[in-house]
């Protein structure tokens, strides 16, 4: 199993508060890793670590065997729960953003044939996420589900090595969420993505992921709860879902028991 992303003895500390301790992890290419855990167990810190938004206090994070610089880069795409899209750009321009930036360092905009090529690529991506008819809408005119579709298209058009999802469907209502689950599963399979998803929804974690990681504290000192950090307490490999063709028909349904 070739590891795309490796964490070696990673610690994250803020002052004397330890958030993540002694985290060793390998994530294979084309895995769909769900991360669950109680609030305050370092899920967000873990995501920020991989995103490059912050550096580990100790230890190393390796992408393709190369240590990550603590800065966000185009090799790791991200979709947040909110505020992932630019409100001042239309759907099409939002998606073209990632294609324009690397090629036009000074103006940040493309012109002529390069612009048309970027436009076609963006339109193809938007059609893949089901926004082919909404190219000229602004984010404020769209529902939460459409905005998340846009955020996913925006990230994927960049062809990132890893796609990070930070509770991407947490703010959506159950019907829309089911559609989004089907979409992300399809995109993950079609584009051979590697996805790391942080979620609060255990059912979602198990139905989408090929591997579920639970972050929590192994030890707890009641007198100094901040002195022990979280690490991976459960690492559950699930069935390899790439072999199953019709997976979303049975497993990804609206939760009718109402326990999520």
């Amino acid at each position: 199993m070739s590891a795309l992303l490796s964490l070696r003895d990673v610690w994250v500390e803020y002052g004397d508060r330890i958030v993540i301790e002694k985290l060793d992890l390998d994530i294979a290419a084309q895995a769909f890793v769900s991360i669950v855990g109680p609030s305050g167990a370092g899920k967000s810190s873990f995501l920020r670590l991989i995103l490059g938004q912050e550096a580990p206090t100790r230890g190393t994070v390796l992408l393709d065997g190369i240590p990550l610089v603590p800065e966000c880069g185009p090799d790791r795409g991200v979709v947040f729960q909110r505020y992932s899209v630019f409100p001042h750009l239309s759907v099409l321009r939002n998606t073209m953003f990632g294609l324009e930036c690397p090629k036009a360092p000074l103006s940040g905009r493309l012109f002529g044939s390069a612009r048309r090529a970027a436009r076609d690529e963006a339109v193809a991506m938007l059609e893949a996420v089901g926004l082919g008819d909404s190219l000229d809408l602004y984010p404020a005119q769209m529902s939460g589900g459409m905005q998340q579709r846009l955020a996913i298209a925006q990230a994927l058009v960049q062809r990132p090595r890893i796609l990070l999802l930070d509770e991407p469907f947490g703010a959506l209502d159950p019907g829309i969420r089911a559609d989004m689950h089907a979409l992300i599963t399809r995109l993950w399979r079609d584009y051979s993505l590697t996805i790391i998803m942080v979620t609060h929804d255990i059912r979602e974690a198990f139905s989408l992921g090929t591997r579920v990681l639970t972050l929590d504290k192994r030890r707890h000192d009641p007198h100094a709860p901040h002195r022990y950090g979280a690490t991976v307490v459960y690492d559950l490999p699930l069935r390899n879902r790439t072999d199953e063709a019709d997976c979303e028909s049975d497993s990804i349904t609206i939760d009718d028991i109402g326990n999520n």
């Binding site: 995103l51 938004q53 800065e71 966000c72 880069g73 185009p74 790791r76 795409g77 991200v78 947040f80 909110r82 505020y83 992932s84 899209v85 630019f86 409100p87 001042h88 750009l89 953003f97 990632g98 930036c101 690397p102 360092p105 000074l106 103006s107 940040g108 905009r109 602004y138 984010p139 404020a140 005119q141 955020a151 925006q154 990230a155 960049q158 990132p160």
Partner: protein, 271 residues
């Protein structure tokens, strides 16, 4: 029906809005008429006829000394000062505010300086400006800039700083450099705020303009008002004040219209 739920139709809004203004005009006319009944030569509350007479002299008859149409020369001079002052301030607000808001090292270096300048009462700097820049146009424009630019800069910087962190991160994961985050993410989102800041700065800008003109000038709306005060010429002062109010309202409306027209995404979902 509760008053908080009472919506007013467009035609009714116009009517209701003009009521207090009409009332004020009527009160003024009654008071002026009663004063004129007691003393036909009263100068404190001039009648509309007198105002129209003195204003038409200023508007249509060339001044004997300078050969200019005084009213229009005043308006042009004042608008020029105001426009240049506001323009320079807006440009500064955009460039400095953007850099302060998005680049932490720049904020750490220049933030305290901008705050320091912003808390100085601009009128207190007027003598310095007159000494350093002379009594010409430069000092008057400089007063406007010193008066409104720091507030506008801080407003834009605060707005840019308050952009969701997620957006800045997202832009970087899409391959944007600092420069690209500035011009593609922060700048467009600062523009509606900039027009808003201009609207709010218009009031203080007029104050500083009139102050500077009152102290040292030979043409301008503020200069004229303070000049004719010596003769108790309320028949000139009142129309001038009304004219200034009208100009200010037109500018405010234009800026609002521009903002809605150019940045529809910033004005709600209903565009």
């Amino acid at each position: 029906m509760r008053w908080v739920n009472r919506q007013v139709r467009r035609s009714d809004r116009l009517l209701l809005g003009s009521l207090p203004i009409l009332l004020l005009v009527v009160v003024y006319l009654v008071m002026a008429a009663s004063r004129h009944a007691a003393n036909p030569a009263d100068k404190i509350l001039p009648l509309p006829g007198t105002m129209a007479q003195s204003m038409s002299a200023l508007m249509f008859e060339p001044d004997k000394l300078s050969g200019q149409l005084v009213f229009w020369a005043d308006t042009l001079a004042s608008l020029e000062r105001l426009g240049i002052g506001l323009g320079i301030s807006t440009l500064m607000a955009l460039m400095v505010g953007l850099a302060l808001g998005i680049l932490p090292p720049v904020r750490a270096t220049f933030g305290p300086l901008v705050t320091g300048i912003a808390v100085i009462p601009p009128i207190a700097l007027l003598p310095i400006l007159f000494i350093a820049l002379g009594l010409g146009e430069t000092a008057k424009i400089a007063l406007i800039v010193v008066g409104i630019a720091p507030v506008m800069i801080r407003d834009i910087a605060a707005h840019v700083e308050a952009l969701p962190r997620e957006q800045i991160i997202k832009a970087q994961t899409l391959g944007a450099s600092s420069w690209q985050v500035m011009i593609r993410v922060a700048l467009p989102q600062a523009m509606p705020r900039l027009l808003h800041a201009m609207r709010l700065a218009l009031g203080p800008a007029w104050v500083f303009l009139i102050s500077a003109e009152a102290i040292a000038s030979d043409v301008g709306l503020g200069y004229r008002i303070f000049l004719v005060r010596r003769y108790l010429s309320m028949d000139v002062i009142l129309p001038y004040v009304a004219w200034i109010a009208l100009l200010a309202i037109i500018m405010d409306f234009t800026l609002t219209y521009l903002s809605r027209r150019l940045f529809p995404w910033a004005h709600g979902a209903g565009h």
